[in-house]
Symmetry: D2
């Protein structure tokens, strides 16, 4: 399997973890989900992300799930595995295992106690040392991690750590940060790495305009993100916005803290991508009011997509 590198573009979908109604890991749905994502044009798949339900899995379940995804993907697109951990030893152990299994790279978010520039830089030096040759994605997600990484620190990391090949940019929305990173690589000050963006795609058109290479995030309609990236890449920004706007009312709803993941799984189940919308405990089901709100938004979205062609 080819390793992840700085040239990655397109949509790396953050996969959900499918469970059966009674909370067991649903490996059959895992296959279906991979097919669903591939059919919608994603160019990569990311599993065990910092959000979602990865921490609810046992170590053995995590390994089984990753292996199942890798087997189904069969090398057609790169698979990235989240290996963030409070300790370097468990991080290395998981990273080594999934790289041996065929992952293209791993992703690491910073632990929440990091504050100063030097603390953050020093942490990633340790990470790179622990990961060895494995290419890694730096996940920059202040809203969740509570760690703010200045562009200068990102550039310092990119300069010193050759295995850092991608930034998953999720500084809400942090458009200026993308511009700063691109200005630095345009001037030849640092290597140009891949920048894929997060935040449920809620700023994707603007992020593409600033120089992002695509998105790495979860959204129940990956085809929106694929469409936006394709339109932007061929220079049709207005079309990119048209696609984006059609999905935005629902995308906004799915991106809610708290119930967002339950909404996403509800829609993925409805679309046939997974067998059950169930979240593993703790994690509730949608209320009738929430389902009604989702249904209205989906009906309106479908209508708008038809008008719009």
């Amino acid at each position: 399997m080819a390793l992840l590198n700085e040239s990655a573009t397109g949509v790396f979908i953050i996969a959900v973890t499918p469970f059966t109604e009674n909370g067991d890991l649903d490996l059959a749905s895992t296959d279906r989900m991979v097919d669903f994502y591939l059919e919608r044009g994603v160019t990569g798949i990311t599993v065990l992300g910092v959000m979602g339900e990865a921490p609810k899995l046992t170590a053995e379940e995590s390994r089984s799930f990753v292996r199942r995804v890798l087997a189904r993907v069969g090398g057609r697109i790169p698979t990235v595995v989240g290996v963030s951990s409070p300790g370097l030893a468990p991080m290395r152990e998981l990273a080594n295992a999934v790289m041996d299994d065929g992952a293209a790279g791993v992703m690491v978010a910073p632990p929440g106690h990091l504050r100063t520039d030097d603390q953050i830089f020093g942490y990633y030096v340790s990470v790179a040392e622990a990961l060895g040759d494995a290419p890694f994605v730096l996940q920059d997600y202040p809203l969740t991690t509570n760690v703010q990484i200045a562009p200068a620190v990102l550039n310092r990391i990119i300069k010193d750590l050759s295995t850092c090949v991608m930034v998953k940019h999720e500084d809400w929305p942090g458009l200026a940060k993308i511009s700063a990173l691109r200005a630095a690589s345009d001037k030849g000050e640092v290597r140009r790495v891949s920048i894929l963006t997060g935040n449920g795609g809620l700023f994707l058109p603007e992020e593409m305009g600033r120089g992002a290479d695509g998105a790495m995030t979860g959204f129940a309609f990956p085809e929106m993100m694929v469409g936006v990236v394709e339109a932007y890449t061929r220079g049709d920004a207005e079309r990119a916005h048209d696609v984006f706007d059609a999905y935005l009312p629902y995308a906004r709803y799915e991106q809610q803290p708290g119930i967002g993941l339950a909404v996403r799984k509800h829609v993925l189940a409805k679309r046939g991508a997974i067998g059950s919308a169930a979240l593993r405990k703790p994690g509730g089901a949608l209320s009738a009011a929430e389902i009604a709100e989702v249904e209205r938004l989906l009906a309106r979205q479908e209508k708008r997509l038809k008008e719009f062609g």
Copy 2:
């Protein structure tokens, strides 16, 4: 002037604080801004909110600004004044002053160190005592205050503190909380207070569907919120969503942390509501890229509004 009470509905606009290019308080623009908001159908106005630039004002400037707003409003609609403060004595002093000047009520957000149910309840008991007869709005804004108030605690406050007449609901988006409050008052367990919602209006249609009475938030196009509330109130939820969707791409952009207020002031200045988009220091200006992004969104919004009639 009539005091604020539980029957408040519609759109209470969170006013910006206008400054001149060199950072002085711009009282002339204050008049213009009040007119602008009134012409767009707002039913109330809120000044010195927890967000925005109120903390940048000296005590004297705060008083001047409030008096200027009150004079221009001239009692046509209620004016609410944010009086949140780490101390009860300065809170009382400001509240007494603005109520004497003609404010309809005051608004209080909880200080960030409150955690347990009893701590939060006890704090509002102290607040109500400090405020005396002044009706107050409880601002429930966890994303900024870091204080999470359970529905049971809100109900306990509403039961025990008769001067709490409104909840400014800004739990992102916290639709279930609105439902819980309404269920309790529908069953007669507590007084029904006014619920106006925040978050830049980004969930306004759903919030109306859950029983909100309107919005209390800032957005450079108050007519969107007025339109959504009106349509919902007359039972036309689809029309409410149509109005909302037309403004959503830009509303999302304005609601960005960090530069959101600069975006809002840029558009308000462009619309003639204020003389300058300047933020008082610290607080930067928009970059060329940001202005271009705003311009594109506004152009698309205008086009869509035309199509849509």
Copy 3:
């Protein structure tokens, strides 16, 4: 092995995790450390605590370390294992494994996102369900977890969840909370559970005075805590303070955030309890200045202990 129950008293030492100079888990030192603790009169031992280096271990290392400790302890005193985890499935897996291996109980700290009374209560309901019959210690440590648990919530948990048999009290210093819990059980409102206190023992005499049953914390001189608890238990509060005061200057130094654990391991290594003071990466060594400060404090402590007899 007897299970942990509400009658636990004395000193449950929070064990460090010994590593060799090159960062490997040091199982030989583990035996020596257990002996060291037992010889100093501890009545229980707690491993894989929320602080310290448990998160730096791989799953396999954690299991090996726990088994080694259990084997060496040989049932002479109860062993408690920290199983806090962001997910219930990995928590249950580890808890089942260590209970099968002979642990007396497990310990669970709340995840940092819990805020309201109901959220905290609901979390422990899920925990108790996941743990089944295993008795558990509720770790109440706001300074680290950022979760504040009101006495009423603790009592609600104790009432409803019969497997909660101990509170590890580490609300800094939170003496009033101990009094509140004891008042409730004295009145017969709730079961009387064991309360062992943390914070490196820095408030142990006062905590005993309020009704604590002893300490559960790490400190390089467990004999101080054993002495304080014994003196207090036989009614000699002045003697308890004398013992405490003799160790306090150094105890204060060991309790520093940041370097505290390195200090503790330095002294444990010096006392022969472990083979090396090394922390696993990331985690630095003491500077020459720090070692000199420790040496001075230990020399003064020895002198004082001699004077004092």
Copy 4:
């Protein structure tokens, strides 16, 4: 009045704000308190600190209190006034006023949202600009502000902002930071500023050993801090530790979060420094158990001081 400069040494006491039993500002006690502090050998006095009750004062009360302190001090020692504020305009207004009234300098803690090195540096550039010629103390207190300032950032501020003449060091305990600052000025890389330390004096001997010039903190027995600084300054570290150790059991108790200030005021009232131990609301009184604990500690302290001579 002489302005504060880099040569400040000794003990700058953080003054409490005295209130009468019914919560009024107690200006008569203010005189008595100033006398009390002066008689115990303090070399400076700091009012309106980030902790304590400054935020409970109205703007007018703050001004009256500062004027009263300045009048009583009568220029015998420098007075520093805390002017931290979310806005630069109110900060400047207060700073100008107190400097006109005769303060020697002002103190500014960073607002809690600052994270990256550049954000912190940029903030102090704005502060220095707002303060004009007024010398200022940078308060580095991560436990309360949640802002971590790296030594390199402190040095950058000291290099670029000539009016920064002192660091109030309160990084818990952050001994390595003092060493880093002193190493930089010893090598001539930056100006040597005054470093006074906080944290209730709980690490004062070690801080002096690392190169601090004294303490700036509140403690009901300023003579302890005066004694430690004097002994250390004349090279008698053991004597400094002897003095320190005698007060440590109570100092530890006074430094408790939550009730610490009530404890300090209780003892100051008992010692005759202020007329009432009352805290302004919100802020409770000590319980009987707490008073008994304090009394025991004070009795033991007195006994030890006698033994020790």
